[in-house]
Amino acid sequence: MSLDKEFKEIPGTIIFDAEQSRKGYWLNQFCMSLMKAENRERFKANERAYLDEWKMTEDQKQAVMARDLNAMMALGGNIYFLSKIGATDGKSFQQMAGSMTGMSEESYRDMMINGGRSIEGNRKIGEHGDAQRPNKDK
């Protein structure tokens, strides 16, 4: 039984299911390797060489080097795994989450202090909320 199709109708959201997990297996396992200090050092010293040790697609490697979290998510990454890259770069979870919204760090932080992003217009693709993703929400 596949997941309810409604999961795919939420704007600005990628559901990490078995298919994404399969696509992103090595991307996510690469991220896990960054839990070890010696691996973080090797990655930082030569990102390309370190990434080439993993069975990742070229698109995934490019997305990592560009630190494009939305692209990494689309290619099968999961945010809890991808956060290891952020930790390696010294970024907080709020900085990482904010970077996926297109907002500046400051305006994202202000939005959270003011109660967070509203659900209104953001339940379903095609509504008029601020989280509708143009390239997905056709």
Binding site: T13, C31, F81, T101, R117
Partner: protein
């Protein structure tokens, strides 16, 4: 006999643990979060639980994609706080209760809940942050803990109904254990939050508070809410809230006993990206 005296519900936001460890609890931003636990710390001193059955989820810490157990009970004697990439949190090791944990595993597996049994694992912020919120700074945790991990990372994750039924089975298992123990059951995670994509930062205050109301008054009805509703209304990471239904299912009123007493309720936005929710229910 062992008995469940209370259930505790709490968010487990990593930034809260970091704020505590870095001594920022009196900064206005964090003081608003920690003030919600002032009552709870005093309450725990009076309650003196022997064991906490602590439902949490691992966040790509001990479980990578190489193993994804849906439900895992930790039957080992001791668990270290994990290094999640920033070094281990400076909190004491967690002391397990292997005898009770093994008893629960044996009982609920025979009731068709196919648990994974884990003896060696490091526990991440999902477990240690609620411990810090409830007990503050300590040299050793004042009670034993049985960690219980739920997969809420890769969909499909277990339904609220399955979690609620599991809680009922855990309650029966605990109450059939012969030693006289004061046991609490905790459900952690949530409340509304989304950490990914253009919808990151989502908070749904109205939905969260209705969830708290229904958790108190209509848990069986709440348990029938489909997973899609959590994700749509409370954000992709708000799905963690299904874990609260395990703790709620273990309260006495789910088998015809009296309704629990609401000892404490707290809600605050934000801590980092997340709505903080916290509730204490006491069995009458």
């Amino acid at each position: 006999m062992a008995r469940i005296t209370a259930s505790v519900y709490s968010s487990h936001i990593p930034a809260v643990g970091a704020a505590f460890d870095l001594g920022k609890t009196h900064e206005p931003y964090w003081q608003k979060v920690f003030s919600g636990y002032d009552f709870s710390k005093q309450w725990e001193k009076e309650q003196k639980p022997d064991v906490i059955f602590l439902v949490y989820n691992d966040h790509a810490t001990a479980f990578s994609l190489s193993m994804i157990p849906t439900f895992a009970i930790m039957t080992g004697p001791e668990f270290m706080p994990a290094d999640e990439g920033y070094g281990r949190r400076p909190v004491p090791p967690v002391i397990g209760h292997p005898e009770l944990a093994s008893h629960i595993a044996s009982e609920v597996i025979q009731k068709d809940f196919d648990l994974t049994i884990v003896n060696e694992i490091d526990v991440d912020h999902g477990l240690t942050v609620p411990m810090t919120c409830m007990f503050g700074k300590v040299d050793a945790w004042p009670c034993k803990v049985i960690p219980f991990a739920v997969n809420v990372v890769q969909h499909p994750v277990p339904s609220g109904a399955r979690c609620f039924a599991l809680g009922q089975a855990i309650r029966a298992a605990i109450e059939s254990y012969p030693e006289d123990l004061n046991v609490q059951i905790w459900g952690t995670g949530g409340m509304s939050h989304q950490l990914q994509g253009p919808r990151a930062g989502l908070i749904n205050r109205e939905w969260d508070n209705e969830f708290l109301d229904r958790l108190i008054n209509d848990p069986a009805g709440l348990s029938k809410m489909p997973n899609i509703d959590y994700v749509r209304e409370a954000g992709s990471e708000g799905i963690e809230l299904v874990m609260w239904l395990i703790a709620r299912g273990a309260m006495a009123d789910t088998r015809g006993g009296p309704k629990p007493k609401v000892a404490h309720r707290f809600y605050h936005v934000p801590a980092s990206n997340t709505a903080v929710g916290h509730l204490i229910l006491e069995n009458a």
